[in-house]
Symmetry: C2
Subunit: 449 residues, 2 copies
């Protein structure tokens, strides 16, 4: 019954166990199962409900404090007062669309675009990362005249039909397009003997282009999430990408950097994942953290890539770029500047990853700690020799942390990499609490002595 | 250079005329042209900027009051204090996603679903009408195994690649899918001699199903906006739909009512357009007015239609159903109840349409006043005998109203129907001001003596 896609959600609630749920929320879950569509899931074996959020902390109805080491949407922290104030003020004044000449829209567009290389000078707003990626693909197809899309083998780019068709991680129930080819992510474990990772990545993209051509598809785009979040978190290394892009350009395609995950300083001091790779994409998309929870996303274009689509097709997104989401986006940039969020991501992220490496150095079920900035992946294995992924153990770790009121999840081809991706409000004290929690759990489940 | 699609926007700003714009906003527009994507348009020959909104009124920086007879998103009125308060409170408390057991999510889902026939009992939330329609199509394809989609000839259903491919009104620059067939809207002017409108509509859907089959496409869905907004506004008559749906069902397809325009009492006392037609759809989608400007949309399903997709594919929408949009949706329903919004739509709509009919009865350039609830279409023609659409005159009327600080737009196959679609906060005084304004304009441009 359960497809590969559905099964890729680590640690989720099984409705058959409703009787075991905390009575305080059982009734709500029972009603939920009756009224929401069947596609909804609850995270964790033991589901949780919150009533309040602050910084990297969530609180339940009994006032218990959960450390949020998972949610990337509230990037500057849950309910950040500056964002709350700016959005509330805008809500009370005006909320109209982009067909009127709003001052705030242009101010924010300029501030956002200023954070990109000069080549990337035009922005279009939407509501979700899915909409931004969907627009990027429409523009890429229109501009190139091609249809071929190359993505990573366990990539996730969103939920519209078009972006679902380039998202293998959704599983067998969700068909890939006939025009879509998959390549390996930059996982050293996938590189054949005798090749460097960079050579293998280039081979992969060449093979995909050739196979697309053989099936009658000219290139439209290579689309990469440079955090490789759903592939298992591989922000390192950073030295292989330009030759792949050159190959795509030579075949007539464009390069789309999907920064929904990597963007907004998730990977440290650089605002965007592509900056760390020393490349300039043709289109960049962004979403989740952009409005700190108010739906806001965008695609930033090289003008020559977007021009004909813009003039011949047009694009009007009712909510995208309207006054309230724009106020949210501007407030997020304010906080990024005032609190030096990228520097904090770099600094606290280093403490977190160094701490994890030190703590888990001798844990027999930990093969590797990966990451950059405030993103860490911990590869859980049956044993270090074979490096066989241990998915059941990964789930146990997630649930054991949740019992200690620490929230994480998992990712990767075998869903065996702990996904540690806190709000960038996560500070030194939060990192210390996290490391304390994972030490306890590592003694129980990861063989730490 | 300008495509059919782009040209379907009535009265828009021509950047070549930048020098003529009000100096107060000229600089902003100049910067806007440099930083926003080329797909953006400004409405009106003489663009306008607002700084404040209340009820059905927008105010510019000089405090001038514009009567909003166009925007459907702020359904209960611009910056309605109850919605502002509820959303601001939620923003300050918590904003998380549907993977946690939020009480507010289930409460709202139940309130929303209670407004549907018993058969439609499952709801899935998203951000925009485009996302909701895109999901509805994914579910319809999955459930039926077919691909064929039937839509109206000038329909608009959104901007993802999938829904753009079923939106002929986007124009020649935006390709329709090979799996898409167009049928006439219920425009009496399109009915061949000797047939009733109902007979013609049934013929249309039969012809489309046969043509799809001939090209190898089994039926997935008939998708209709029951206000026929972009087709030119034809909420009447209401007696032809069930046989069309029966035909679609017999061919293996489902019926999707796109209520992004017609829903939330736009057409009067009935909350949904399909209610007026006495039918029960298989899927209903909704968007724009749902959160009064906070991005929120939904698809409501018959459970048997959504079940397999839900279980095998799943659907997680990051922002859809998160705490703040849900608070906005709940506050809108509060206002609908407290202010009896559907009754107001019916009552004020009747005053508006009766007033228009009376006023324009002898205007030689007006062929017809159509509509239901707070939606009115006024067909502008070169003369009443030929009924030849007069698009240039339509644009002059829109701009003349804008000069009098009354906001409307136009729709229809020839973009020659005035589109009068105010927030449902529009009251008797607003209707009186509107009628006064249009009387002046009708004397100038519609031949009224």
């Amino acid at each position: 019954m359960v497809s590969l896609g559905a099964s890729r959600y680590p640690s989720r609630f099984d409705p058959a166990r409703l009787d075991e749920v905390d009575p305080a929320i059982r009734g709500n879950i029972e009603r939920r199962l009756d009224v929401l569509g069947p596609g909804y899931l609850l995270i964790y074996n033991d589901p949780v409900a919150f009533v309040r959020g602050r910084g990297a902390h969530l609180f339940d109805a009994d006032g218990r404090d959960y450390l949020d080491a998972y949610n990337n949407v509230p990037v500057v922290g849950h309910c950040h007062p500056h964002v709350v104030e700016a959005v509330s003020r805008q809500l009370a004044e005006l909320n109209t669309n982009t067909r009127y000449a709003q001052a705030g829209l242009v101010d924010y567009a300029e501030r956002l675009v200023a954070r990109f290389p000069d080549e990337l000078s035009r922005v279009t707003f939407a509501c979700s990362g899915s909409e931004a990626n969907d627009l990027a693909l429409r523009v890429a197809r229109h501009h190139t005249g091609g249809e071929g899309i190359i993505v990573n083998r366990w990539a996730y780019h969103g939920i519209t039909r078009e972006v679902a068709s380039i998202s293998p991680s959704l599983g067998e129930g969700s068909p890939l397009g006939a025009n879509v080819r998959e390549i390996d992510p930059p996982d050293p474990g996938l590189v054949p003997a005798g090749l460097t990772l960079a050579e293998h990545m280039l081979d992969e993209v060449r093979r995909a282009i050739a196979d697309l051509r053989r099936h009658g598809f000219d290139m439209a785009a290579l689309v990469l999430d440079l955090s490789y979040m759903s592939d298992g978190i591989f922000p390192e290394p950073t030295d292989y990408l330009q030759p792949m892009i050159d190959e795509v350009h030579a075949a007539g395609g464009v390069f789309i950097a999907d920064e929904v995950q990597a963007g907004f300083a998730r990977l440290g001091e650089d605002m965007w994942g592509f900056r760390r790779q020393g490349v300039v994409p043709d289109i960049v998309t962004m979403g989740k953290p952009m409005g700190n929870g108010i739906p806001l996303s965008a695609a930033v274009f090289r003008p020559e890539v977007a021009r004909d689509f813009g003039e011949r097709v047009r694009y009007f997104n009712t909510f995208g770029g309207s006054s309230v989401p724009i106020a949210a986006g501007a407030a997020v940039l304010d906080v990024f500047e005032a609190e030096r969020v990228p520097e904090r991501s770099e600094r606290v992220g280093r403490i977190l990853r160094d701490g994890l490496r030190e703590l888990l150095a001798d844990a027999p079920h930990v093969a590797e700690v990966r990451g950059a900035g405030l993103l860490a992946g911990v590869e859980i294995v049956a044993d270090r020799e074979t490096r066989e992924p241990d998915r059941a153990r990964t789930t146990r770790v997630i649930d054991a942390l949740r019992e200690r009121r620490i929230l994480i999840s998992a990712a990767g081809s075998e869903v065996s990499a702990l996904k540690i991706r806190p709000p960038l409000a996560f500070d030194e004290a939060d990192a210390a609490r996290f490391l304390e929690g994972i030490e306890q759990v590592a003694r129980l489940h990861l063989g730490l002595e």
